[in-house]
Symmetry: C2
Subunit: 472 residues, 2 copies
């Protein structure tokens, strides 16, 4: 795609950028950014073609993210047909949309034709319907049909992520015929690691890995070396589920089939790696209460995306405050309680988060289930008891010395123990229950766990104190 004309290689900038565009810390090198920025300002197309167009798609993507927002579109325009659209699959959604929406549909259509279908779908699926239709209309018939079919599958399904280019042969061919076919055929996928065996209706019969073909004598028939596809992926399957199959069975690629078992595409490990990354990131972000925010989001978008979570926390914060309110008479008499009560609630909150983190992760990797749930609940309750005794004693002694009052030391120790056990149970039971009723435990667990440890922490500490000092 990139055609650097050797005879044109007259240097316009004295420094030659080094091969590696990354600095030690993994970010794009500042001197390279400066060179690119200057080249964009000078409209130095020659430099950009030689040093930017030759970059790997993911390097170009990183470059697009690193330069100033106003330089992005200028760079794309200057590169023209030399701009590798695949780079857009490597950048934040906001940046991708910003660039694609400004590009003329004709240029997108021309570039889309060069892409593998999975990359093309990745870019097309974010466009609004009108632009998408206009671009599709400019593509050759077979290309258009293929992309339409992939786009018809639900978002985040295997059908959306699959590549529709693949090599398929009939079972009665010999290895020799197959090799000859691959040597003659021009329209092969850019790269592939296995070929598929199909009947005339495209029904999937088997798979042959390329190394198997290379080890086998020419006259052997394909059907005798093909292996059954144990894990064909239905096109409607959620991409996360498909990724789990890849991981479990160490697949490099897998056939994607429609409802009738007909081969419609191939899902490859590189797309699956992206899915695995995205899912891990999603869980991570959700547990932190930040949804699917991206680094390139604007101030207003960021603020808006964080409000719901903060609002829910506000409700539980007032709930905890109202628990304190019950005991205001006691606090008025013994101010030490107000000083110490955040310790009980805070330590419980931390212990609860620990248990919750382990549980949410175990649910995501499916390593917790009915067989071991009981054992893990027992273990967590035990950990809560053990750490509750340990930290209860510690805090009790420190608090008792601080306020020179053994009563307060004893009360906070007991409250600590109660809250640590409550934290352990909340940390494991809440994600389990949320998962069971079909809610995403990563999204909603934290708020409930903190609510429980705050309410129980304040109630146990202040309640015990009220009862004890009323009793003595």
């Amino acid at each position: 795609m990139i055609d650097t004309e050797d005879e044109d290689r007259t240097r316009t900038r004295s420094e030659e950028p080094a091969d590696d565009i990354y600095a030690e810390n993994g970010s794009v090198r500042a001197d390279f950014l400066a060179l690119v920025g200057a080249a964009i300002a000078d409209r130095d197309i020659l430099f950009l073609r030689q040093h930017v167009a030759r970059l790997h798609e993911s390097e170009l993507g990183d470059l697009l993210e690193a330069i100033q927002p106003e330089q992005r579109l200028a760079l794309v325009r200057l590169l023209g047909a030399d701009f590798d659209l695949t780079a857009l699959t490597e950048v934040d959604e906001a940046i991708r949309l910003e660039i694609v929406e400004q590009m003329p549909n004709e240029q997108i259509a021309a570039a889309i034709g060069e892409l593998d279908s999975d990359d093309a779908v990745y870019i097309l699926e974010d466009l609004d319907k009108d632009d998408r239709e206009e671009i599709l209309a400019q593509l050759p018939f077979t290309e258009r049909v293929r992309l339409r079919r992939a786009l018809d599958y639900p978002e985040q399904s295997a059908g959306r992520r699959m590549q529709t280019e693949f090599v398929a042969v009939p079972p009665f061919w010999t290895v020799g015929q197959t090799i000859d076919y691959m040597r003659e055929e021009d329209e092969l996928p850019e790269s592939f690691t296995q070929i598929f065996v199909i009947d005339p209706t495209f029904k999937l019969l088997g798979i042959v890995d390329l190394d198997r073909i290379l080890r086998t004598k020419r006259q052997i028939r394909i059907e005798s070396i093909m292996r059954e596809t144990n894990y064909p992926i239905p096109a409607e399957m959620d991409q996360e589920e498909a990724a789990q199959i890849f991981e479990q069975y160490d697949l490099l690629s897998a056939a994607v089939v429609d409802d009738n078992g007909r081969l419609v595409g191939v899902l490859t490990i590189d797309d699956v790696v992206d899915v695995i990354q995205e899912e891990a990131e999603e869980d991570f972000m959700r547990l932190g209460g930040v949804g699917d925010e991206e680094l390139s989001d604007s101030l207003a978008e960021t603020s808006r995306s964080r409000v719901p979570w903060l609002a829910v926390n506000l409700v539980t914060a007032f709930l905890a405050a109202s628990v304190i309110g019950i005991f205001d008479a006691t606090i008025e008499k013994i101010v030490a309680l107000a000083v110490l009560m955040p310790i009980v609630a805070g330590m419980g909150g931390n212990a609860g988060s620990q248990t919750m983190t382990v549980t949410v992760r175990a649910l995501a990797t499916r390593s917790i289930d009915i067989h071991n749930a009981a054992r893990i609940i027992r273990r967590e309750a035990g950990v809560g008891l053990l750490n509750g005794v340990l930290f209860g004693l510690l805090i009790g002694v420190v608090a008792g010395l601080w306020f020179q009052d053994a009563n307060i030391g004893g009360i906070i120790a007991a409250a600590m123990l109660i809250n640590m056990i409550a934290a352990a149970l909340a940390g494991i039971m809440i994600p389990l229950v949320l998962d069971r009723i079909g809610a995403d435990p990563a999204v909603s667990s934290a708020v409930f766990v903190t609510a429980v440890t705050d309410v129980i922490g304040f109630f146990a500490f202040l309640g015990l104190a009220t009862w004890w000092f009323a009793a003595v």
Copy 2:
């Protein structure tokens, strides 16, 4: 490896287990577990050979995790030579060690010989030195040398994860010679997707993907179709760094070279996927304050692993408490302050976690750097200001109405605003600084961020109240 004798297939158990050992929710089916449990109790080797030995290594791994601890060793013993040791690469470390330590070294040595070198290293590296040497001594010479070399590389390096079996040919061979060689040679790796081109000293010259060989005519020379290896992985490179190269350049496998550029092995995407998963999991767990705990850890191990984090939190909790202690006279006069103060600290803590989560993730994926840090810090400060105004007003009105006191409403609103801005700045600056000084931001950020939001939250609220009510 598994040799099911068809003539022996007399059923001893009436129900035939279905093909899929997993239930809907992804855990191992209870009825299958019951059948396996009964077969272990009855020492029904036939059943185990037919239905357990035939499982995929990852299925066998899941089964080992799901059965009772005391059944595990019994199952391994009953399967004997039919036990696929690879399954041990799929289970928790604690379970792997428990099984391997009980297996006779002779049985391990015999089974290790059947494994790919990367799986063999994975199992050997956890054993103590004596056992490891005893097992290695029983292996054939070349096998032993290969494994020793891999084990000599640092833990978690590419050299540890690489496979030492690969196909390498000289550059002057033709495609035809190469194919003929692969057809004749018995000692090829179990599966491969590319072959390497080397000089007589094993120096890496290039790589040829199998699909390229298949598309090329027999008489063409390998050197004319090989491509340069842009991304050879030094054997000493950290596995995480190697994984990032795989991800960035969508590699399926990569050559691993020693200090002199000599080919020593090949790193494949399936191992890299595991590394990616582990790293994502590590960050997730660290942020939750639970280190590298595993689900199979004992109560005591779990308790111990969580104590350090709780202890650090205890220190910051007392710090926050001592801030409250400064204002005990004010609280004694106005108990409403004690009731409301956790709201200010808690909301700040949540806002801080949100910013911190985004920052830690961005650092892990290297998407934050000096070029965009300033922009993101400005954005976060803006988000803190915006959400501070929003939630300050909201809380101010509710608190003012609750306690029928406009002063308290105004004070909490102002404190809220201050703490939200502090939370935003702490949430982004603390991970950035930790990363800059070489600490892992995932491990230590949360405790510092909460300390800041607690201290500033209490200080701002109680300090403003003290000043205001002294002033009026």
